[in-house]
Amino acid sequence: MSTDVNVKLDALPGLDPNALPLEVKNLQVEFRTRNGIAHAVNGVSFDVRAGETRAILGESGCGKSVTAQAIMGILDSPPGFITGGEILYRGVDLLKLPEAQRRKVRANRIAMIFQDALSALNPVFTVGFQLAELFRKHRGMSRQDAKARAVELLDLVKIPAAKQRVNDYPHQFSGGMRQRVMIAMALALDPEVLIADEPTTALDVTVQAQIMALLAELQQERNMALVLITHDMGVVADVADRISVMYAGRVIEEAGVNDIYASPAHPYTKGLLESIPRLDLKGQELSAIKGLPPALTNIPPGCAFNPRCRYAQDVCRQNPGPPLYQVTPSRTSACHFWKEVKGDE
């Protein structure tokens, strides 16, 4: 469908069609603010295969969105700076590409859905304009053709009466529809990787179910790699294949979905799972993680989780923090005591 651009992209130096669609290695991002340097991402690594869903889990402020923005290359800079690591798209390090080529990768190869669809859509342009823009700028289509494609896309994401709605403004859509427009926009150029940054956090459960179902359907259809960023343990359990759990800018556990839920190998993951209200524990106190996440400008030495951790020992307070222990061949945990944590189960 988009041969001309594919030709250009194939010209990316070192592009290897057999390499993973996305691989992040030891990514580091910091924000240089007046109050000091905030280390928002401190060595995040993960990868995702075609057709697979990789979930990135973690509470608010742990650096999930920043990671996504770094991958897309849309970090606010200043104050944000990528200080290390690699972001590989099919073997090509995006961080080393010139801006013009990098731009071509966006939307064409790696696309993104944002957390809050209302603020992520430009309020002063029609939905149709914002969709058609992609075809006009990336595919050089005429206005009419692009508009026709926009309608097709709206149809694809199941917006009723797409032909009429294409000329509406974002505020005239309901929350769920806006999120569907976002999805349409992300899928427009048929990317290989889709990063969905909390696509349903702002939505009701019934609408969330609609959106997740839609995403799953489209992913399957196109064999896309999906990076799903969320803090909702329920959603992750429903759709993810593999999970990376983040804490204070770091991936602290990585595993297949069943492993994590069955036997978390990091105390933080464990704490998260335990603080979900559960029926069998009704009437009892929830087991909450005590304390607060650290400020990113002032991450405690050693394991960032140590002040809140019930397994913490002196070793946890020593720099450098725990390495990623290989729990099983397909699973890692950044806890000195992963065995205890897991064995506790």
């Binding site: 309901s174 343990m233 429903d238 603080s275």
Partner: protein, 336 residues
């Protein structure tokens, strides 16, 4: 008089839609709350769930007296607050207090924690004599698990969960019997959310409070509530004990809602009977005739458009449901 600490009868709130240049005339109304009957017993927690925009907050605001009902009655400990004057209503607010959804916006950024929690005492000077107020505030701080030394701090120096505790302390200041929580944890992270829920439960045990707990997170409601009311477009469509609602929901909307809740257990993936609704919530200014859910309901028939189903017990499940075709459908498999 009933044994309910709080009871509403056909409580209605319509926000008028007006039109006109000089003389405005009403051309319609947003039926935010449209005939709600609720009962709250002493020491009980009533959960209210429903989609965004279904009127939960409006209901809450009416219950605490921030909004005057368009019609209907509202009894707080037997006194009909919908029929009293403004001054008495102001005073009557003592008995029923509100914890708001967003801990970031519900605290005045320019007041110290002490001033925020102490404000109720200044408004109702008879509750605590002037000299003892400060001590009382510190007591409250301690009660909600905050450091009493932080009395002079400002809200922005606290985290979300701590702020929510400040909100709770403010609500407790006047020794109310009822506390109304309007989505008190939805702005919080999972790990913090648990802390706040624990606190609320602890206070209920210690002080014998009655809660109305509004939320859209059904698992939280299930954890904390004794009874649950499900709202849809300004109406209660199903009400029952927590078990009745979760185990034997009879209203299609409740069923859809429950089935949509993601269960944090990957092993159940694909086994659940997930109902994905089509279409959006209709506008409360122009609700569908008859049953309001019929536009999204897979069971809808002609009668649903003609006749509004009453909230009554229809089948063996034994709890009221506002559906002509109410029947039990098991959508949630317990996690155990």
């Amino acid at each position: 008089m009933s044994d309910y600490v709080l009871e509403t009868r056909d409580l209605v709130k319509h926000f008028p839609l007006t039109q006109g240049i000089v003389f405005k005339k009403q051309i319609g109304a947003v039926r935010a709350v449209d005939g709600v009957n609720l009962q709250l017993r002493r020491g009980e927690t009533l959960g209210v769930v429903g989609e965004s925009g279904c009127g939960k907050s409006t209901l809450a605001r009416m219950l605490v007296g921030l909004e005057t009902p368009t019609s209907g009655d509202l009894f707080v400990q037997g006194r009909n607050m919908a029929r009293v004057g403004a001054e008495e209503r102001r005073r009557g607010r003592r008995n029923i207090q509100l914890v708001m959804q967003d801990p970031y916006t519900s605290l005045n950024p320019r007041m110290t924690v002490g001033d925020i929690i102490g404000e109720p005492f200044e408004v109702h000077p008879d509750v605590v004599p002037k000299g003892q107020r400060r001590g009382k505030v510190q007591e409250l701080l301690e009660l909600v698990g905050l450091n009493p030394d932080h009395i002079n701090r400002y809200p922005h120096q606290f985290s979300g969960g701590q702020r929510q505790r400040i909100g709770i302390a403010r609500a407790l200041a006047l020794n109310p019997e009822i506390i109304l929580c309007d989505e008190p944890v939805s702005a919080l992270d999972v790990s913090i959310q648990a802390q706040v829920i624990n606190l609320l439960e602890k206070l209920q045990n210690e002080l014998g409070l009655s809660y109305i707990f509004i939320a859209h997170d059904l698992s939280v409601v299930r954890h904390i509530a004794d009874r649950v009311a499900v709202m849809y477009l300004g109406k209660i469509v199903e009400v029952g004990t927590e078990d009745e609602i979760y185990e034997t929901p009879t209203h299609p909307y409740t069923q859809a809602l429950l089935s949509a809740v993601p269960v944090p257990d990957p092993t159940l993936r694909g086994q659940r009977d997930q109902i994905v609704l089509t279409g959006d919530v209709p506008s409360p200014a122009n609700p569908p005739s008859g049953c309001r859910f019929r536009t999204r309901c897979w069971k809808a028939q002609d009668i649903c458009a003609e006749q509004e189903p009453l909230l009554e017990v229809r089948d063996k499940s034994g709890h009221p449901s506002a559906c002509h075709f109410a029947e039990v459908r098991d959508v949630v498999h317990a996690t155990e």
